[in-house]
């Protein structure tokens, strides 16, 4: 069983790295997080229910590790959404609706942690609401309200009622 488990873990690495990269915005920190996640997965192998989906389980481990690390650096009480409107006021609405990817990335990291995680799990990793709720350990209604706030906040930060049109600037 352990060899199959190792192979299954290897197959999940790219997805874990993508999520961790987007969550942290830092390639080295993201890979540290993934490494911790893989090691934790081994130590919790006995808790993994055979036949259940591996990916949400791994995301939940990664999420918990990240939340614990973030808590150590932040005085923000865990599980409490920041006032989303308080964040936007520092940002003048963009006159140009055409936004750059860099703007999207900066805006993403202005979101409260909880909102960013939900948006990435659903919008990027395409987990179902139910799976995202399990990963984050919150009710499905909380997933939906955070998702709604995250998208609306990003739309505001990107200054587009019409919607941002992305162009790649690198």
């Amino acid at each position: 069983m352990s060899r199959e488990f190792g192979a299954a873990l290897v197959a999940e690495i790219p997805r874990l790295r993508r999520y961790a990269r987007a969550l942290t915005g830092d390639a080295a920190r993201a890979d540290d997080l993934v490494q911790d996640c893989l090691e934790r997965a081994w130590s919790r192998l006995h808790l993994f229910r055979a036949g259940s989906a591996l990916r949400p389980w791994l995301f939940s481990i990664l999420h918990n590790l990240h939340a614990n690390a973030a808590r150590a650096f932040s005085r923000t009480p865990p599980g409490v959404d920041l006032d989303p409107d308080a964040l936007g006021e520092a940002v003048a609405p963009a006159h140009d609706v055409q936004i750059e990817l860099g703007e999207l990335e900066r805006a993403l990291h202005r979101l409260p942690e909880e909102q960013r995680a939900v948006l990435l799990l659903v919008g990027l990793e395409q987990l179902s609401y139910q799976e995202a709720a399990e990963v984050l350990g919150v009710p499905i209604g909380t997933v939906m309200s955070r998702l709604s706030r995250a998208r609306e906040r990003l739309r505001g930060l990107l200054g587009g009622v019409e919607g941002p049109r992305l162009r790649r600037v690198k």
């Binding site: 993508r18 081994w42 006995h46």
Partner: protein, 259 residues
């Protein structure tokens, strides 16, 4: 036509493919009449698309070697912290939600144990084959003489040693015996039996240095063994009760010996 009002949650669920088909059609129809909401949804979709443009490159990157290693090889077992051991002693870890404290309940990859541990496992398998079929004298000292058994084996091994209790798994201790290990040093074998006559043996030898390893698994001729090193002792638990059951028993042995 009586349509339910479209909520904010409906819009996101529409975008995320979470709506049942019938409701999706209703929202489609509503959106056709609500250009502002439709534009907002397009903006949300653009954001999702932008996230993919930003981060999908990561999927194509080569997997770093350290991550591949972490995925395929279990890490070295972490030593129980003092408080964790104290908690285990207090029996907290037997409570449901935390059954099996994670620090010492993981399995290493098959067959990647140190050579010496694997040799111990093979000795254990051989000793199991020799003594388990014994009906009249499976053990030298019977379990009824529990204190004597522990004292005798401890003295001969030169290290305190006692047989773990496996009643919780349905196995009664039959007793123990002393054997020469592969290098002629004393080794202890404890034997257990369940109600159906299945027998387990726990084989214990001294190691030369202080080490800790993961649980490893090996198998020979239909007989399975989990083996590990902890401190100055090597352990191997042998039986033919199925790998999962044997793994559970190995965890239980480890847990008790850790106390």
């Amino acid at each position: 036509m009586n349509r339910r009002p479209v909520s904010e949650a409906d819009l996101h669920a529409w975008l995320d493919g979470e709506l049942p088909p019938a409701r999706r059609l209703e929202v489609d129809a509503w959106l056709a009449e609500q250009p502002e909401a439709a534009a907002r949804l397009r903006a949300y979709a653009e954001i999702d698309h932008g996230l993919h443009v930003l981060y999908d490159d990561v999927l194509a990157e080569p997997v770093p070697a350290r991550l591949r290693a972490a995925a395929t090889a279990a890490p070295p077992r972490r030593r129980a912290a003092g408080w964790a051991r104290a908690a285990a002693a207090a029996g907290w870890l037997l409570l449901g939600g935390v059954a099996g404290w994670s620090g010492h309940t993981w399995i290493g990859p098959d067959g990647i144990g140190g050579v010496s541990e694997l040799e111990v496992a093979h000795e254990a398998l051989a000793a199991h084959v020799v003594y388990v079929p014994e009906v009249r004298h499976p053990v030298e000292v019977e379990a009824a003489q529990g204190a004597h058994l522990a004292a005798w084996l401890s003295k001969r091994m030169g290290h305190p040693i006692r047989p773990p209790a496996l009643e919780v798994l349905g196995f009664q201790l039959l007793g123990g015996r002393l054997l020469p290990d592969g290098s002629g040093q004393p080794a202890a074998q404890f034997m257990y039996q369940d109600a159906t006559g299945h027998r387990l043996t726990l084989y214990v030898t001294r190691c030369d240095d202080v080490r800790e390893t993961a649980f490893r698994f090996t198998s020979r001729d239909g007989l399975d063994a989990f083996y590990w090193a902890d401190g100055v002792l090597n352990y191997a638990l042998v039986g033919d009760i199925g790998r999962e059951a044997l793994e559970g028993a190995a965890h239980e042995v480890y847990r008790q010996l850790e106390l």
